[in-house]
């Protein structure tokens, strides 16, 4: 227990962080250890290349985008609190804890998750997924399997499907509507799931 507390003490604003993200202290410590492991030079913050060093992440077709999501525009580093906050998007929704109606929307709410995914597409941050942006994502994900022409048709069709206001782009509202039935939203990385709640 002693070591637990001493680790926690190293983290600034830990109470606030736990409140905001909903992580338990065990989670926070686990994440803190991981954070330190990633931060090889011990600077107390992570740079994009720290993420790039994760081998599996390099294999991820949209890995770069995901790494990019950790860094707010203009910033080259991410500190522990931000790191945890971003990971908290994917904490499973807990049913047991009663939600205070006055409290702000939890960070791992459905809509926040979708927002996270949305900004992966929307690289120019104009609030819309344009055809080109979609095409880029598709190219990353589908890779060599299909021809460029087919990719374009898929992109067109996808936009058509979602595009309600016919501006040839997908706004977040439209994005939310078409993603109404996504299974994976319910899943969460195991590290944050209940079994580690000791």
């Amino acid at each position: 227990m002693g070591s637990t507390n001493s680790t926690l003490l190293k983290i600034p604003n830990v109470e606030e962080l736990m409140q905001e993200t909903g992580f338990s202290s065990v989670h926070i410590i686990r994440l803190y250890d991981r954070f330190k492991a990633l931060d090889k030079e011990g600077r107390g913050h992570l740079c994009p290349h720290d993420f790039g060093a994760i081998k599996e992440l390099a294999m991820n077709p949209i890995g770069d985008r995901i790494i990019g999501a950790f860094f707010s525009p203009g910033q080259e580093t991410v500190d522990f609190n931000t790191f945890v906050k971003i990971l908290a998007h994917f904490r499973p929704v807990d049913k047991d804890r009663p939600r205070d109606p006055n409290s702000p929307e939890p960070i791992n709410s459905r809509s926040n998750k979708l927002k996270f995914a949305f900004q992966l597409y929307d690289q120019d941050k104009d609030g819309k997924i344009s055809r080109d942006e979609l095409l880029k994502v598709l190219r990353d994900m589908l890779g060599m399997q299909v021809t460029e022409e087919q990719l374009e048709s898929i992109a067109d069709r996808t936009i058509q499907e979602a595009d309600l206001d016919r501006d040839d782009a997908i706004s977040f509202e439209e994005f939310r509507k078409v993603s109404a039935k996504i299974l994976h939203l319910k899943k969460a990385p195991v590290v944050m799931s209940a079994e580690y709640d000791c």
């Binding site: 299909v146 022409e149 067109d156 979602a162 944050m192």
Partner: protein, 844 residues
Amino acid sequence: MALLRRLLALLIVFSSTCKVTALEGDSAEVGLDYSSKSSETSTPTNVTTATITTLPIVIWKWHHVETPYLVALWILTCWLCKLVVELNHSLTSVIPESGLLIMLGFILGGIVWGADKAQTFKLVPVNFFYYLLPQIVLDASYCMPNKLFFSNLGAILVHAVIGTCWNAGTVGVALWACYEGGAMGTLNIGALQFLLFGALMSAVDPVAVIAVFEEVHVNEVLYILVFGESLLNDGVTVVLYNVFDAFVSLGGPKINAEEIIKGIVSFFVVAFGGSLIGVVFAILISMLTRVTKNVQVIEAGFIIVLGYLSYLTAEMLSLSAILSITFCGVCCQKYINANMDEKSVTTLRYSLKVLANGSETMIFVFLGLSAIDKNIWVWNTGFILLTILFIVVFRFMGVFFLNWILNQSRLIPIDITDQIVMSYGGLRGAVAYGLAATLDEKKIPEKNLMLGTTLIVVYFTVVLQGITMKPFVQWLKVKKATQADLTLNGKINNRTFEHILTAMEDICGRMGDNWWTRHWKHFEEKYVCWLLMTSDARKHNDQIFGAFHKLNLEDATSYVTEGESKGSLAFIRNDDSASVDFKKKLAFDYADIIPDIMADMSEYDFGIDNVPVMKNPIPSVSLGIHEQDSKTMPNDLTAHHLLEQHLYKSRRYNRPTYSRSHYKASENPDEMQEIFQRTMRSRLESFKSAKMGVIPAKKLSKHPKKDSTHKPNGKPADPNRTHPYGDEDFEFSADSASSSDIAGHFSRRSTNAPRAGVDNPAFIPEMDTSAPMRNPPWQTETANNTAVAPSQRAQGRLPWTPTNLGHLAPLRMSTRSTDSFAMADASVDEEAPEEKPGTHHTRL
């Protein structure tokens, strides 16, 4: 009332057939075996044995056909039962079909009994296990939602293996304890026999479960848990049964620790060995389908036969046959679906459904039928009631306990209502009966008691629990299945989230489910697909692409149906909804002018193969047919009428409509020739009539030359240029003239469109009053027209042209101006008067 009468009529038919069969019966091994002691006193058979004095013209040869005849007759009877059951939907919505079939089985059994005073027909385990069960399991596993199954495999296995052992053990022990306590009077059953009985009672029957649950539409996780469990647990039950059976044969005193350990080992060997055989066969099947392209007609048959062989092979090696065929179906479905032609997949799906549904029906009817036998009814109230009580109670306990353990680690816990439904859905069925019927009377003196009890349990669960299941599910407000529409967005976003989640796991440095999924996927893509899929299939394997393809197919279908119901190609006419085009490069330039239809001539070669998109396994075409306007109906009708008149009608009567090994008769080369000749002829005619008409049409003057050069002997200049559609006109003009030429040729006619019903528009004087058409702007610009704005009129015209089929097939137009559609179309109606074959033969 009507229903009742029909039922009665049917019953009379049945009874008469039954009587006939009973009369002729001897104890042949029939699919629905009949071990009759019935009368050999039949008279008609004597005819064959009588000495022949004269050449018989017709002989009564019942004995030659007896066995297959009876089998066929029973199959027919059972299926008719299903028909009767399905006549009234208000009935099946209350009582599940399986229950009704069992009841009809009672009635049939009663009739047989009434005729024979003995049970002549019953379900024989051998037939059940070898001829009726495999196809049901194969169908169920082949149609199993793969992803769902594997992602819940852990939970399913826990329920199927541990749950089944728990049920078998506790029911056996509890019954034995009650027996020792004196609840059943004196019976000749030992502890081991009770355990054996417990084992056979633990088989949750997939047939019964699917039949009930499919009508209830519970949510998919619950469905897969119950369904997967029932499927796998059959295999486990059979294994367990065999182990206990061996113990019973050994006899109590000989069983020591060593034997028990052997039993446990054999349990795992049999179960996993069977699964392994299934996987091996799945690999075999997948590899085989890589090379069956040339024998597409029997492609589907391969899978059925090999699936059946996997069952028999496992049986031969005394491994679990049910597990074998289950894993065979589950593992190979993805690869064979990708490898085989879409038609074969459909064929396979339907034939499996026919086989599975057929035997399912027979099983239920015979479950009812088998009950009408006074030999098997040894009544022991205590035994029967306690069995029912125990199987229900222990099932509930088992499910709750296992789910409690599973929920410790499950992300989305199985909630209490789902657990209740899971427990309540433990229906017993034909497997239990089949196992009970295989009991050896020498080893188990109380076999009939067990058999009778099994039947009662089956009736209790299938009929009673089946009936109450639906209201129960509604009352508990179990989450129902949500109908997810297939959308590209859904697929893509799903994929994105998969990637995000794995990335998050990587960042957190943990191996979770997503890690496993990802690595399996990686491995599969690299090796498994390489081994099991054709290169073509690999390419199109991607889910997003698959969804895209499916959506396109759907659109094409709706396009056709819609077109048929409206009488024409109404739908391409949506001016405002920007359907996606098929030739991107040009389309992009023109996107704001006319989004739907774009043609880039340079991309077409005129080979026949290029034409139909249908030939292309996955069209790179996106169809955007969602809105249709009906205001232009008259034009559609006109167009339809015109097409009807002028399109070349293939001479069906000349063609063989049946081909032994191919779906479609090959194109007749003569037909190609004729199409071409007719085209040429009509073109010449149209030119002539145009000349005689009012138009001087200077551009047109080029055509006679062209035509005559091609035509002198009526032979195509280049046979490759003819193609199977009716629009050879475009083609011809495309390669015969520069685009400006065609524009000239067609522009004259495009004005006719509004009066398209007119017989020969060429003779209508007003038609050439359209001044702009004489010298259309794009003609003058053709040299450098990269972005020609189509005229308003032309835009209006567009829709009814056959070329607009471009939505489905790449356009084969030559012009860069969109006006050409209208013109090309107009050329068709011009040819109207020339279409009487024969009258112009002299021309050629």
